[in-house]
């Protein structure tokens, strides 16, 4: 099962709002995964155990795992496209784990 993390300033409000929304969309599609809201101050620690990172900020850092634009889930603009990217990333992570 893929693990998705969403980070915001304290891992409480914005990240949890996005995480809840993603959770709802994924369960509608019957895709199993865990979505967790985390504190961006401790991102380096959390990213180690994650398969996909949903970001609500723009950074110039590069990550080992796929990064999805979380702002789309807050504004609704481009949400379908980002969600499709997310679903693909989850499928890839699951396939990788199974294989």
């Amino acid at each position: 099962m893929a693990k998705i993390i969403v980070a915001c300033g304290s891992g409480v409000a914005t990240s949890q709002t996005v995480a809840s929304k993603i959770n709802k969309l994924l369960s509608e599609k019957k895709i199993k995964s865990t979505v967790e809201a985390v504190d961006i101050k401790s991102l380096d620690k959390f990213i180690k155990g994650a398969d996909v990172y949903v970001s609500i900020v723009r950074t110039n850092k590069s990550f080992q795992i796929p990064v999805i634009n979380g702002i789309a889930f807050l504004t609704g603009m481009g949400q379908d496209k980002e969600f499709e990217k997310l679903v693909n990333a989850i499928k890839e992570a699951d396939a990788h784990k199974a294989g």
């Binding site: 300033g9 891992g11 409000a13 914005t14 709002t17 809840s20 961006i40 101050k41 702002i71 504004t75």
Partner: protein
């Protein structure tokens, strides 16, 4: 009428962990959520209250004896324990009138958009709590419920106007177009603005510093467990505890700071179906209009300047809490000072030295506001029903957001003539800030159209 009053009293006496979920269930069903989902969200809210009560009691239980020992040993009396914003948000949701602030914010926003008085569509429903908090504080201090709502309404209008001027800044700082931060936390820019003008005329203050590098080096001190452990250990030593007891306090303090956001998350989890529904409704209503979508401040959290400035101001706040005469607050759960830094980031265009100076000069303001509001926060905390604050101790919030605006509003509601004049002056300063940032935005937009101009690629 008598029966109705008795029913209302009965429900309120059930305590916040029961009656707020009941309200939530009713609101959810009115919003046509499925019963299963509405019930689950309501129950999660009750769990959040219960969990937050546990954590606040755990924190006060660990910190109060140390604060009292400190006072006996040194004469430094810090009787107010700092619950931070997660603690304040929790007790705010427990106010019996809390949910009325949702329709108030939505209605004001819709009216202002229809009449083109704002370009900001605020879909951030989480921060409705900050309007609840303002309403409670003003209502408690003035003994007038209506004035509490008036203050909250003024805050909503100011937030939307602030959203209008920050939109272009947010895009410049984050690269995300079409969004803004209509958060009252940014209104501190009002009193920082004159300082920024002076600092802009002081050349050596605009030196470029590699904040990414700095954040990599000192970022660990901003992590909850590390910060909690350090504060707990220092407090233990200052209180004259043995090494063993100091180390125990360090671990307890770290536990409290790690648990706070974990519990707080449950509130946003419970509220997310409602906030999602409202947000979708608002966006659909204005989908043909060009607006800035208003989001919570963490869209700016990718800027390393913000974290560097916050971490540097942690020891400053601790030192001020000891040396400031009359301060009663021991900084703890609220020590990550977001209350100045978001405004400072936007106002200075991420000039790190300016931001740090702003953190230094505003620290006393937050601590004094925290001291002033502590009795009212304690009253709200106790009225929630289950938060036990030891006798002689208080609950507060060391980095009390919008200290200037909330103090002036509360005192004005009390018909204090100086406060009313002060509030009018504060509005005049906001007008000045609005015009100035608007002019800067227009100049920047114009210079971007001229390709020969040098551009700041930060």
């Amino acid at each position: 009428m008598q029966i109705l009053r008795e029913i209302v009293n009965y429900v309120l006496n059930l305590g916040a962990p029961v009656f707020v979920p009941l309200i939530m269930l009713v609101v959810g069903l009115i919003a046509r959520m499925k019963f299963k989902d509405a019930f689950s969200a309501a129950l999660t809210l009750g769990i959040a209250f219960t969990g937050m009560t546990l954590v606040i009691n755990f924190m006060t239980g660990a910190i109060s004896p140390a604060a009292q020992a400190l006072s006996q040993r040194t004469g430094i009396t810090l009787t107010a324990v700092d619950g931070g914003w997660p603690g304040m948000a929790a007790i705010s949701w427990a106010w019996p009138y809390a949910f009325l602030l949702f329709p108030l914010q939505i209605a004001i926003n819709i009216v202002m958009l229809i009449f083109n008085w704002t370009k900001t569509l605020n879909v951030d429903m989480w921060n409705v709590w900050s309007k609840i908090f303002t309403a409670v504080m003003v209502a408690y201090i003035s003994n007038n419920l209506i004035l509490g709502f008036v203050a909250a309404a003024i805050q909503i209008v100011l937030e939307l106007k602030a959203g209008d001027i920050w939109g272009p800044r947010v895009e410049k700082l984050t690269g995300i177009p079409g969004v803004t931060v209509p958060h009252h936390i940014t209104l501190l820019a009002n009193i920082l603005h004159p300082f920024e003008i002076i600092m802009n005329k002081t050349p050596f203050l605009s030196k470029k510093i590699d904040s990414d590098y700095l954040k990599d080096k000192i970022g660990i001190f901003g992590e909850n467990e590390v910060m909690g452990a350090i504060i707990g250990l220092l407090l233990g030593f200052a209180a004259g505890y043995s090494i063993t007891n100091s180390l125990t306090l360090a671990v307890k303090a770290a536990a409290a700071l790690v648990l706070f956001p974990m519990i707080s998350k449950l509130f946003s989890q419970a509220l997310s179906p409602i906030s999602e529904g409202v947000s979708e409704f608002m966006r659909n209503k204005f989908k043909d209009k060009e607006v800035y979508i208003g989001l919570d401040w963490p869209i700016l959290a990718g800027r390393s300047e913000l974290w560097v400035a916050v971490i540097i101001t942690i020891p400053v706040l601790l030192i001020f809490s000891i040396i400031l005469p009359g301060n009663a607050v021991l900084p703890f759960a609220g020590i990550i000072n977001l209350s100045f830094v978001v405004a400072a980031l936007l106002l200075t265009n991420a000039n790190i030295i300016h931001m740090i100076i702003m953190g230094l000069i505003t620290s006393p303001l937050f601590l004094y506001a925290a001291t002033y509001f502590a009795p009212y926060i304690t009253r709200l905390g106790r009225s929630v029903g289950t938060v036990s604050i030891p006798h002689g101790m208080m609950l507060s919030w060391s980095t009390f957001e919008s200290p200037d605006m909330r103090f002036l509003m509360a005192q004005s509601a009390n018909l204090n003539i100086w406060a009313i004049l002060g509030l009018l002056g504060w509005f005049a300063m906001f007008y000045w800030l609005y015009k100035d940032i608007d002019r800067q935005n227009k100049e920047e937009a114009a210079s971007e159209l001229e390709p020969a101009e040098e551009s700041d690629a930060s």
